[in-house]
């Protein structure tokens, strides 16, 4: 029976990118539907009427929204090359840190990069604290998933390219190797995984995009 897997995404969404990684790591064939959020397609509005956001995975015509929910759906539907550990406690831990990444870590890092001057200094405090929590999770591990890449690596994977892009745009080095040795090492090996390496958005395009966003925020002050 033919499987139809479509991924509605934008070229730059880090949330959508984690789905690309999961599908590639599992060897699942899929079709990308590129979305322009300034002019949302009927397909997107129909597939995610509640949030009208990307990514949306459409599997045999049935839509699944919210990237962490999609990752778990992929994990449970295509059981080869598991991304989650078997042990319920380890699973709960992966879920906890994935949620932390989306609800605390990413917003705190983002705030650092859109702020200027004093506000940026203030924003650094929670961001560094959150990074420290994540650093500790890598203790004794190669990937967050252990020996192999796992769901939590995919959830935190936005750090691998986005942070260096943001660092270049602002000139602020957030993940200093002496302060975050494990995270720095992880960023390198994660980015080197073939499925990850071949999937990233063009760096120059990302730099232009984030430069424009940062300039817009600076202009509103």
């Amino acid at each position: 029976m033919a499987e139809e897997v479509k991924l509605i995404r934008t070229w730059s969404s880090p949330f959508a990118l984690r789905i690309v990684w999961a599908l590639k790591l599992k060897g699942i064939e899929f079709e990308t539907v590129l979305e322009d959020l300034a002019s949302k397609s009927p397909l997107l509005l129909q597939s995610n009427p509640v949030h009208k956001k990307v990514p949306v995975l459409v599997h045999n015509g049935k839509p699944v929204s919210e990237s962490l929910v999609i990752l778990e759906y992929i994990e449970e539907t295509w059981k080869e090359k598991p991304l989650l550990p078997e042990d319920p406690y380890e699973k709960a831990s992966s879920r906890f840190w994935a949620k932390f990444s989306d609800e605390k870590l990413l917003p705190s890092v983002w705030t650092v990069f859109i702020s200027q001057g004093n506000k940026q200094e203030e924003a650094l405090v929670p961001a560094l604290e959150n990074l420290q929590f994540i650093e500790e999770q890598l203790e004794g591990k190669k990937f967050f998933g252990g020996e192999k890449i796992g769901l939590l690596d995919l959830a935190i994977g936005w750090m691998a390219d986005m942070v260096s892009v943001l660092e270049e745009v602002t000139g602020l080095k957030l993940i200093q190797e002496d302060k975050f040795p494990l995270l720095s090492a992880w960023i390198e090996i994660f980015a080197d995984v073939p499925e990850i390496k071949e999937s990233g958005a063009p760096r120059e395009k990302l730099i232009s995009k984030f430069q424009a966003i940062r300039d817009a925020y600076a202009a509103t002050k």
Binding site: V64, P88, K91, A92, K104
Partner: protein
């Protein structure tokens, strides 16, 4: 089989804590309820068990903490597999349940909190927001007896504790959920017929008294 030690660090009025209580009751698990006095002082024990968020509920199983209520509910479902499955077995149904659970966490809680914390236009907006969310959830319920279909499950557990807070929202927001979402109230009554729910939910009048106390304490009158 050796005894397993289950402790729930909780606060009587927390709708998030109630979710975990219901899940434990559904599975017939014996546990120690440890009350945190959130009105006055967070205990050092809570900070140790949940250093990242310092929030309840925390499910502590054989000394190991599981934080975030819906993560704890999934953990309970996976560890105590034999009885009363909480999540459906089909991956697509599971994804839908997780999606709406996430929706409740992101939208219902925030709107509800703003209803009693704010006044005027902001309060009115939150009230509209809450009613909109409840209507969407009512649509998702449809004519099923429970969100899970024939059996009570994860999504029912995620939402029903908010019933303890509805009287408070309605009183401060000056509206009636039953008038806006009669099917949802029908579902609440059906859930309250279950001992696992009726014994886990806080008394709505006591919750209202608590909110009066909190408003006074934080100068929100």
């Amino acid at each position: 089989m050796g005894g397993s030690e289950v402790i729930l660090l909780d606060f009587w009025a927390s709708m998030f804590g109630m979710r975990v209580r219901i899940a434990l009751a559904e599975k017939g698990i014996e546990y120690e309820f440890k009350e945190e006095d959130l009105v006055n002082n967070r205990s050092p024990f809570l900070s140790k068990m949940n250093p990242v968020h310092k929030k309840i509920p925390v499910l502590i199983h054989n000394g190991k903490p599981v934080c975030e209520s819906l993560i704890a509910v999934q953990y309970i479902d996976e560890v105590w597999k034999g009885k009363a499955p909480l999540l459906p077995s089909d991956p697509y149904q599971r994804a839908q349940a997780r999606f709406w659970g996430d929706f409740i966490d992101k939208k219902v809680y925030d709107h509800g909190a703003k209803i009693w914390k704010t006044k005027g236009a902001e309060q009115e907006e939150s009230k509209k927001g809450l009613i909109e969310c409840l209507k969407l959830l009512e649509g998702e319920l449809g004519d099923k007896p429970y969100f899970g279909g024939e059996s009570f499950g994860y999504l029912d557990i995620a939402l029903v504790p908010f019933y303890s807070w509805l009287y408070t929202y309605e009183t401060f927001g000056k509206f009636s959920v039953e008038a806006e979402c009669p099917t949802l109230i029908g579902w609440v009554k059906r859930c309250m017929d279950k001992e696992s729910v009726s014994k886990s939910l806080a008394d709505p009048l006591k919750v209202h008294d608590l909110v009066l106390l909190l408003k006074k304490k934080h100068g929100l009158e």
